[in-house]
């Protein structure tokens, strides 16, 4: 891992994104802070609808009306991106920060060739590049992401590609202008398991080769364990626990993280009932006044403080480094987890 005192590449502070509806503003991302250092791989995990994708789009300034960034900063190399014009942002998108989208089937324009879209990405940010040179570079990129017969396949349309191949193309497009950060929004979710593993391995390799930082958005904790240095657990628009991957996954402190981990089938607990988290995430337009997870929490047991007060992040010292946990009982739970492992 890179040195801790290095200034972060991406520094998100107190970001709140809301959608204005007839009945009022609904915040999908609430006061989120996170940072990604150069070359670091950070995961954001959470169930569907928790605001992960909105967070990704907010960082790139891609949230359109009726959505808007209501508060906070997105600092890239120290420069705040919130409020920049579309003209300024287009120089950053696809150049300094690129995006890999979750749905490879719909992420490419169906009526343009794959090559046209790849070459367009290159030449937009490198206007001096001739069409021929851009084409040569595009072939190189397709080879790097292991698309067979790259030269010929450049002139194919997206519908000639399989899902896995399209996601490789997306990775090639993301890499095209040697970005400092790739935001990958569920890059393997829509693929079958074998292809998932291949695409993930490829992503891991190219990221390592280029030294690109990655903000990986996923609901797959297996992917997080394998791929990421740090993890942020998101629930109802807030980051409820964050820390080094190993520490968070081995000893989850927040009840939600623990419940999430326990809901994964574990071969060593064969015969046990799979533990699903009871209930549903809260309606974003009618959030509980206290902790957002309180209605589903097995720890609080309806304690007064959980229902009435929004927990503040509490720092926990773990073996892998510091963690932050938004739970009133974080310290107590961390200590108990320590005892359990100690005994």
């Amino acid at each position: 891992m890179s040195a801790t005192n290095q200034p972060p590449l991406l520094d998100v502070r107190g970001l709140t994104t809301e959608f204005v509806t007839r009945t009022g503003a609904v915040a999908a991302v609430r006061n989120v802070s996170l940072s990604v250092r150069r070359g670091e791989k950070v995961a954001i995990v959470g169930e569907s609808g928790c605001g992960k994708s909105t967070l990704a789009l907010s960082i790139l300034g891609l949230v359109d009306r009726p959505g808007r960034i209501a508060a906070g900063e997105v600092r890239l190399h120290g420069r705040n991106l919130v409020g920049l014009s579309e003209r300024e942002m287009k120089k950053i998108r696809g150049n300094v920060v690129s995006l890999i989208f979750q749905d490879p089937m719909g992420a490419l324009d169906p009526i343009q060739t794959v090559g046209a879209q790849l070459i367009d990405t290159l030449r937009r940010h490198q206007p001096s590049l001739s069409h021929k040179a851009a084409r040569a570079r595009a072939v190189e990129l397709l080879r790097e992401v292991e698309v067979p017969a790259a030269e010929r396949r450049l002139d194919d349309y997206p519908h000639h590609y399989s899902g896995g191949m399209r996601q490789r193309v997306m990775i090639a497009i993301a890499l095209a202008n040697s970005p400092a950060l790739i935001i990958a929004d569920e890059p393997t979710t829509a693929l079958d398991v074998t292809t998932q593993a291949q695409v993930l391995a490829l992503l891991e390799r190219v990221v390592a080769n280029h030294g690109v930082a990655v903000l990986l958005i996923t609901h797959n904790l297996g992917v997080v364990a394998e791929f990421c240095d740090g993890v942020q657990v998101m629930y109802a628009g807030r980051i409820v626990e964050r820390g080094p991957t190993e520490a968070v996954l081995a000893k989850p402190t927040h009840p939600y993280t623990q419940a999430l981990l326990e809901s994964i089938p574990d071969p060593s607990r064969r015969g046990d009932r799979l533990r699903a988290i009871p209930g549903m995430p809260p309606d974003l337009s009618a959030m509980p006044t206290g902790c957002a997870f309180e209605p589903r929490c097995f720890h609080g047991h309806g304690r007064e403080i959980c229902r009435t007060r929004q927990p503040i992040p509490i720092a926990i010292e773990t073996a892998g480094g510091p963690s932050l946990v938004e739970c009133h009982f974080a310290a107590e739970r961390a200590a108990r987890a320590g005892e359990i492992t100690a005994s």
Binding site: D64, I111, D120, R124
Partner: protein
């Protein structure tokens, strides 16, 4: 691609055959005797019979059809009973005016629909949204002849910006030599800038009037498609690659939204080419519309039949062009219809 085109040409020929058959049979089945009409009520029965024989009206329906088609294809479209002129001459003198008006009306409808749809979807504001929607309802609902008169009242009578109902050119402008029959094209070919400008000025009001309904229709269709396409992931991805929202809309959303409207646009275009009697009347446009209504009223069926065939030909031709265009623009169509890649 070649297979696709040849298939389309074959279906087009079948459509044309069908159109010719329907036009022929329907007109023969309407009551009235053209020979009697032509010669007048005082002509003797012998003379009427002689003319019927000369016109081939005494033969069977089938032989009449064969003779008609044979002559039609060799360029002999018969003559008009009411005017005594050759139908080919009559129609060729007037049809280009109708076609030119149709072309400009479509140009207006298309450009206006695309710009309005793009702007209203891009801005997403309630004002531009509601305004454009109201405009399209108006466009689809207003009777064209009334709208044409209002346009004349405002832009000719009121402001005097545009010429009044005086046909295709001003009285003092010398028409360019006829090559294509399209006034603007002929003027350009002759290098006559004055005539070109005058022809365009004369086209504006009738073209807008005629194109208003297709504009409203195309706008609503395009807008609905565009709204759907702008929510597609590839638009977000295109912006993530470094396109501004506007660029992503124009380069990626518009072509994808346009594809499904292509067929509808082609049909509208075909309809516009066939002209509109009412709009031509209002603007004293020397098109085929008046000729054909007169032909129908006077049972001058050589004229009507030739007009139907000519319109059918243009209609089928536009459909053919649209199909080929769709295959060229959308790689998936070419592939699914046996074109390979």
């Amino acid at each position: 691609m070649l297979r696709l085109i040849s298939g389309r040409v074959a279906t087009s020929l079948i459509s044309l055959f069908g159109a010719s058959l329907i036009a022929f049979v329907l007109l023969r089945l309407t009551p009235g005797d053209p020979a009697r009409l032509f010669l007048g009520q005082f002509a003797g029965e012998d003379a009427v019979q002689a003319l019927r024989a000369e016109l081939g009206l005494d033969g069977s329906m089938f032989s009449q059809y064969l003779i008609y088609m044979q002559r039609f294809l060799s360029g002999d479209w018969g003559f008009s009973y009411s005017t005594g002129q050759s139908v080919a001459e009559l129609l060729l003198a007037r049809f280009p005016a109708t076609v030119e008006l149709g072309l400009f009306a479509f140009l207006f409808a298309f450009v206006a629909a695309v710009s309005c749809a793009l702007i209203s979807v891009y801005r997403r504001g309630p004002v531009s949204d509601g305004g454009a929607r109201a405009l399209s309802f108006f466009a689809q609902g207003v009777p064209p002849f009334w709208f044409g008169l209002m346009m004349l009242l405002v832009f000719f009578e009121g402001f005097g910006w545009l010429p009044g109902p005086e046909g295709r050119l001003g009285l003092r402008v010398i028409p360019p030599p006829t090559v294509t029959g399209l006034m603007t094209v002929d003027a350009l070919l002759a290098g006559d800038w004055t005539a070109f400008k005058d022809a365009v000025r004369h086209l504006i009001l009738p073209a807008v009037t005629l194109g208003l309904m297709p504009f409203g229709f195309l706008y609503r269709l395009l807008r609905a498609n565009l709204e759907g396409v702008t929510r597609e992931p590839f638009i977000t991805v295109a912006r993530g690659r470094g396109l501004t929202r506007w660029a992503a809309y124009v380069r990626h959303a518009l072509p994808n939204a346009f594809l499904p409207t292509l067929t509808a646009a082609g049909l509208l275009f075909g309809q516009l080419l066939a002209g509109s009697v009412l709009v031509e009347r209002v603007f004293v446009w020397p098109g085929a519309g008046a000729l054909v209504t007169d032909g129908v009223l006077k049972q001058d069926f050589s004229v009507v039949q030739a007009f139907i065939l000519l319109s059918a030909f243009l209609y089928v031709l536009t459909s053919l062009v649209v199909d080929i265009l769709a295959a060229l623009l959308d790689p998936r169509v070419a592939q699914s219809q046996g074109g390979g890649r």
